[in-house]
């Protein structure tokens, strides 16, 4: 018996391909971009119950596919020509509704295109639709969306509906379930890596500043970073190459070269020093997670890497620091949703009433909670104790990593403290929910690149990921190390017929 919520039609091999395979197939004219796109559109229709997409854009997708075929026919295919992608609904897309999964932006049609989605489109990708997510990217289970939760294509033996993780849960479900070749996510505290780990996918959060934030609805500006969610490590490198680059419209965008990441893939790890931080060994961490971590260490040493025990002493403060800073920035970033210029407006007799009515109705519970937390930590009398203290701790967390990278090349940890949970088991205490991010948040605080690679299964036969954290702007070390793990793990993805 398979543990699949989705039964991929066997007639349709196209939706099993990786991005690189699909691109090769298109180049060789084994199939057309229109055929490939249609295969995905069919699959999307068939699996609409997963609720992976907030908005499907089949007409634009087919239109785009035709143009791709014309280019391919002329031998003018660009690097990602004809690849159908899932676009997280946090990226503003010109002429196409963009909601951040919030009622307050329902019906908002941006007159501009985000830099990241524009970079992808200009490389030839086709957007299949806008994927579901936690409202304003706030959440770890994709259950805070105004448009309903997302269901993972994976199933546990008990048959319960599982979370795909969050906040990029729609993209993760789409890529895992055959509703897109690959997709975009954003990661503020783990929102790419955690859903990737839960869904058996590769999820990369690039270095802060690697991908432009222009045109991406902001959650926490100093932490937000766009990245790819893909079926393998190579696809991740190919997509990042296109998504990344300096953008003069984003003052925090880095002025650095974008290397040809794919070239790093086969470098191996011989002689690399891999740091194992003792603080990531959490109390009560499940045995399957610890076993996977040990397995990862062994794979890397077998491939010639050297393990180095390291300490990142401020790790335990990362989560509380994150949950001060991210809400603080969010409380200010979300002030613009006031019912005056765009999106939802719930009238009132006075301006203040307009604000109150619009924002009470427009924002969900989790978003309101974080706005309140953020407003509180910035308010007079609390600023020093919370916000300022958190900024100092953030600096210490960053220093921990800086010191570690004097001794090691890359750091290996588990991505999540558990496998995906069933939607009816979701924690009712928000703080328990926040613990999902405990292993991913430090990389955001330090602005470092980190990748989650599917590496094994939980005792319930659900995917688990290993996380690699690299020095700033050294995504290459992540790709070469991740390739070794991927090779060794021989992970059987959902679509490639994992059998329980």
């Amino acid at each position: 018996m398979t543990n699949l919520a989705v039964k991929p039609s066997l007639k349709n091999d196209l939706i099993h391909l990786t991005l690189a395979e699909a691109r090769r197939g298109l180049e060789k004219k084994n199939f057309s971009a229109v055929e490939l796109t249609k295969a995905y559109l069919d699959s999307m229709e068939e699996h609409r119950h997963l609720n992976a997409y907030i908005l499907e854009t089949p007409e634009q997708a087919l239109e785009g596919a035709k143009e791709c075929d014309a280019r391919l026919a002329k031998g003018e295919g660009r690097s990602l020509e004809g690849i159908p992608l899932a676009m997280k609904d946090l990226f503003c897309t010109k002429g196409i509704q963009t909601t951040a999964a919030s009622h307050i932006l329902e019906g908002f049609i941006p007159p501009y295109e985000s830099t990241v989605s524009d970079n992808l489109t200009k490389a030839g990708t086709i957007t299949l639709g806008k994927t579901n997510m936690d409202e304003f990217a706030m959440g770890s289970a994709n259950i805070t969306s105004y448009f309903g939760n997302v269901i993972s294509p994976w199933k546990r033996a008990d048959g319960k509906d599982l979370t795909p993780g969050g906040s990029s849960g729609g993209t993760a479900a789409a890529v895992a379930g055959g509703l897109a070749v690959a997709g975009t996510g954003t990661d503020t505290g783990g929102s790419i890596r955690q859903p990737a780990a839960f869904s058996g996918l590769v999820g990369l959060k690039p270095t802060y500043g690697r991908c432009s934030r222009w045109g991406t609805v902001a959650f926490a500006s100093s932490l937000d970073q766009a990245g790819p969610i893909t079926r393998d490590v190579r696809d991740s490198a190919l997509m990042l190459k296109v998504m990344a680059g300096h953008d003069s419209k984003d003052a925090t965008s880095a002025h650095v070269e974008v290397p040809d990441f794919a070239k790093a893939l086969e470098l191996g790890v011989k002689g690399l020093k891999v740091g194992i931080p003792k603080e990531y060994h959490l109390e009560g961490m499940p045995e399957d997670i610890l076993n996977l971590w040990d397995q990862g260490k062994k794979w890397l040493t077998d491939a010639g890497a050297e393990l180095v025990d390291i300490s990142l002493p401020h790790t335990k403060y990362s989560l509380p620091t994150y949950y001060v800073l991210a809400p603080a920035e969010a409380s200010s970033n979300l002030a613009r949703y006031d019912g005056v210029r765009y999106g939802l407006r719930v009238p009132g007799r006075t301006l203040d009433e307009l604000y109150e009515n619009t924002r009470s109705e427009g924002f969900g519970e989790e978003v309101q909670r974080r706005i309140l937390i953020g407003t509180y930590v910035l308010s007079a009398g609390y600023y020093d104790a919370y916000y300022l203290k958190a900024q100092k701790v953030r600096r210490l967390v960053t220093q921990d990593f800086e010191l570690a990278y004097q001794k090691v090349d890359v750091i290996l940890t588990p991505t999540t403290p558990s496998a995906a949970f069933a939607l009816d088991e979701k924690p009712t205490d928000p703080v328990v929910m926040y613990l999902n991010d405990v292993l991913t948040v430090p990389a955001n605080l330090a602005g470092l690149p980190a990748i989650s690679v599917p590496a094994g299964f939980s005792k319930d036969n659900l995917p688990l990921g290993l996380q690699l954290i690299g020095p700033a702007f050294d995504e290459n070390v992540l790709f070469r190390t991740a390739r070794v793990l991927e090779d060794a793990a021989q992970f059987k993805s959902f679509l490639r017929g994992h059998v329980s």
Binding site: P110, S114, S332, A335
Partner: protein, 491 residues
């Protein structure tokens, strides 16, 4: 204007303590963090970018020109330039503030401590310290009088760069406050960093006023907004001082509040509907990295600084021996200084006497005429060269000072130069002794009685003879020659 440091109440003298916050709009083509245009008076909502309207995902990018203008202004007020400064978000909700926060600089402004020296009417100079200058965005405009229930919002001004220049509470009278703003305005105009037009709102002043018994600690201050001219500034301060003193002497208490100046009544009143005690929740804007300036770049700006009013004044006093009073008036406005210097250059003789004469004509007759006819130097019918030409004619003795007044009026009316008008109307001064002598003889012949009386000791009658000669020559006779000849003849 209260020209005293102490304000006399019924319980004795009170001291005024005044601090000013001047918002000066930076002259730039585009806004502080967006590419939208900044021109005044455009159709509502036509100069608004996606950033200004706070559309989702939009990001601010600093406009280098505005940074340069702030540094230039900082150098102009003798201030420290902070090579690292931080932009903060000042959070509050209002309909004309689309993002829900204003980007400003709270803890670490681009410009630190500086000072200005102001000249007062009694000839003394006082140094007023400046706390800081920081860059911030302006808000949009709410228009409440176009619809019975709704307000309209114009975002054209939203995001325009402002320099907020904060003084120490060093100012002690409305005269000083006015002199401070005038000085600051002359500096920013000279630097070209702000046009200083208070009536258009490109320079706005908030005034903090408190009173105290001399020597005691600071009193509670009221902040006065909506002061849009220097005249109103002085009025607002005097009114507010009087109000606070009366209140305190009656056993009352000054409230720390924001008050609005009502220019029609010349009074201040508490701002209405201030039920929100704002907590602005300042924090560093995560969209903007710290603003880091290169010391060499700042030095480059310093090297291209124009001569500032103080330096110009010192030079005029040194080079032409101009009195301090004249020099201050000439340098107060860049246009006046430019006009004066161009006129000096056109003078045939540039000795201190001629230059002083030129200054007198500029400050006296020309300013008088400009005021009367509501004109400015830009629209003045007498050019710099023509005014210099008039002074040349006086210095060379071609016309007397008295005739020159007549020539000036003709120049104003016709736009012609002095020399041709003198020629045209035969106004040339007669210095030919022979010609004047015959007139002198004639006058003496016609007034034998007067001559007799003069000779018997009535010295005062000398003036009568001078007057008669001048009358007979229609004022054209050289007064010097007339005096000399009369003295010879009358013995």
């Amino acid at each position: 204007m209260t020209n005293h440091y102490f304000y006399e109440g019924t319980t004795g003298p009170w001291e005024l303590v005044i601090g000013l916050e001047v918002h000066a709009q930076v002259i730039s083509q585009s806004k502080l963090f967006s590419g939208a245009a900044t021109a005044f008076g455009a159709e509502p909502n036509t100069q608004v970018s996606f950033v200004d309207a706070a559309m989702p995902g939009m990001l601010p990018v600093i406009n280098k020109i505005c940074v340069e203008e702030a540094v230039r202004t900082g150098l102009g007020i003798n201030a420290e330039i902070n090579l690292v400064s931080i932009f903060d978000r000042k959070n509050y909700f209002y309909a004309d503030l689309p993002s829900g926060y204003q980007i400003s600089q709270n803890d670490r402004p681009i410009v630190g401590k500086g000072h200005l020296d102001i000249e007062l009417e009694d000839g003394t100079t006082r140094r007023i310290c400046i706390t800081r200058l920081h860059l911030e965005q302006d808000a949009g405009k709410s228009i409440h009088d176009q619809h019975p229930e709704k307000s309209y919002i114009d975002l054209n001004r939203c995001g325009v760069a402002l320099m907020e220049i904060v003084s120490e509470p060093d100012i002690r009278s409305s005269e000083e406050a006015a002199a401070y703003v005038r000085k600051l305005r002359s500096i920013v105009r000279c630097l070209g960093t702000c046009d200083g037009n208070m009536d258009q709102g490109s320079m706005r002043v908030d005034v903090n006023v408190s009173v105290r018994k001399p020597g005691s600690s600071l009193g509670t201050r009221a902040e006065i907004k909506n002061v849009n001219s220097i005249k109103f500034l002085a009025q607002a301060i005097d009114y507010e001082a009087e109000r606070q003193v009366a209140l305190l002497e009656d056993g009352g208490e000054v409230l720390q509040e924001t008050r609005l100046f009502d220019s029609a009544k010349g009074t201040t009143r508490p701002m209405r509907s201030k039920e929100h005690a704002h907590d602005y929740r300042y924090f560093p804007d995560p969209d903007l990295p710290p603003l880091v300036l290169d010391a060499a770049w700042v030095e480059g700006i310093r090297k291209t600084m124009p001569e500032l009013p103080d330096a110009k004044k010192a030079r005029l006093m040194k080079d032409y021996e101009l009195p301090a009073y004249d020099a201050s008036i000439i340098v107060a406005e860049t246009e006046t200084a430019a006009y004066f210097e161009a006129a000096v250059k056109a003078l045939k003789s540039r000795d201190s006497k001629a230059v002083k004469l030129l200054a007198n004509w500029l400050i006296g007759d020309l300013f008088g005429a400009l005021n009367r006819e509501d004109k400015t130097l830009d629209t003045c019918p007498i050019s710099e060269i023509h005014l210099a030409g008039l002074v040349d004619q006086i210095v060379e003795g071609v016309i007397s000072g008295k005739i020159a007044k007549d020539v000036f009026v003709r120049m104003w009316e016709t736009g012609k130069d002095a020399a041709s008008l003198i020629e045209e109307h035969g106004l040339k001064q007669v210095s030919d002794e022979g010609a004047i002598l015959s007139i002198v003889d004639k006058i003496l012949d016609e007034n034998p009685k007067m001559v007799e009386e003069y000779k018997s000791g009535k010295d005062k009658l000398f003036g009568f003879f001078v007057g008669q000669v001048m009358k007979a020559t229609e004022g054209k006779a050289s007064p010097e020659v007339v005096n000399k000849l009369l003295k010879e003849k009358l013995g």
